[in-house]
Symmetry: C2
């Protein structure tokens, strides 16, 4: 239904994080249109809860000019499996490792113009290891009691989409058990 | 803490939906870096529930090449208030109008490289009116019973971030009442 057909793909910017295209396409009714697309290899992130505390990273985000609290996350490397990326980022950023990960959701952050897929996992069997940040990466790790994280969520202080989504899913599961 | 300072802003692509910059900046430790930024004016969307059914739009998304189920949403026009945008998009896309909107959350979809803010509202006092789509906009409206929407959410079929977030918030509120 209502598919749009690509006529010409044109790369207008090639960066390290993103590639941007401006395509000529055809609307479902046959008329021509242009479509702007931000290409991104995809991201992976991990909700990690240990002893009733959620592991968050506090990080300056240049695009917003703000410091945000987020679950550990990163960009998928070329050819890397999302789960491997999530495991790697968790350990690099926080110094915790997981026995295994469960997929909570694949999230499309902004489908109007971007093709990024964010794989959201929950960590099982957490162990403390060593932190080793990427070169040029600056962040603090915070262990926040779940009650406080939910309170931040309710008052809108956790603005990052993947973080809010992961915590809400976790909370819903807990409620289901209580009910 | 850990702020990055802009040295030079450079626009590398100017589109209708997005503008892309590649900036020279300085890391917290004083070393130079480049930052890719997708600028977007922001979006607004509405969770609208009427008679136990959530109003969704089914729409082809070019960037993914997939048809997605989403809550009604759109791009904020220049100088437009997010709430006005949300009201407008709800009516244009679905033919329903709300007496008022309550802000559920401001969501940052992908803070690693994009400055878009998505304002997520809940509609109160829905009324049936006329649908009038934008030129070149093709979508179907679906009224989905909340139970079915939650089931789609649980099995990962609602991939759009803002839609999943809005529905999870709605569900959490309902659970809170039950508890």
């Amino acid at each position: 239904m209502y598919e749009e057909r690509t006529v010409t793909k044109r790369v207008v910017f090639e960066g390290k994080v993103i590639r941007v295209r401006k395509d000529d396409a055809v609307l479902p009714d046959g008329r021509p249109c242009t479509r702007e697309v931000v290409e991104h290899r995809g991201g992976a992130c991990v909700l990690a809860v240990t002893e009733g505390k959620v592991i968050l990273v506090k990080q300056f985000r240049y695009a917003y000019g703000e410091t945000l609290l987020e679950i550990p996350a990163g960009k998928i490397e070329e050819g890397e499996q999302p789960e491997v990326c999530a495991m790697r980022e968790l350990e690099e950023e926080t110094g915790y490792a997981a026995d295994r990960l469960e997929l909570l959701q694949v999230m499309y952050p902004t489908p109007g113009y971007c093709n990024e897929k964010i794989y959201i996992y929950e960590a099982k069997g957490l162990k403390r290891k060593e932190r080793h940040l990427d070169d040029g990466e600056f962040l603090d790790v915070c262990l926040l009691p779940l009650g406080e994280a939910y309170a931040l969520l309710d008052c809108g202080a956790l603005k990052d989409g993947k973080t809010a989504l992961a915590l809400l899913r976790h909370r819903t599961q807990r409620n289901d058990i209580v009910l």
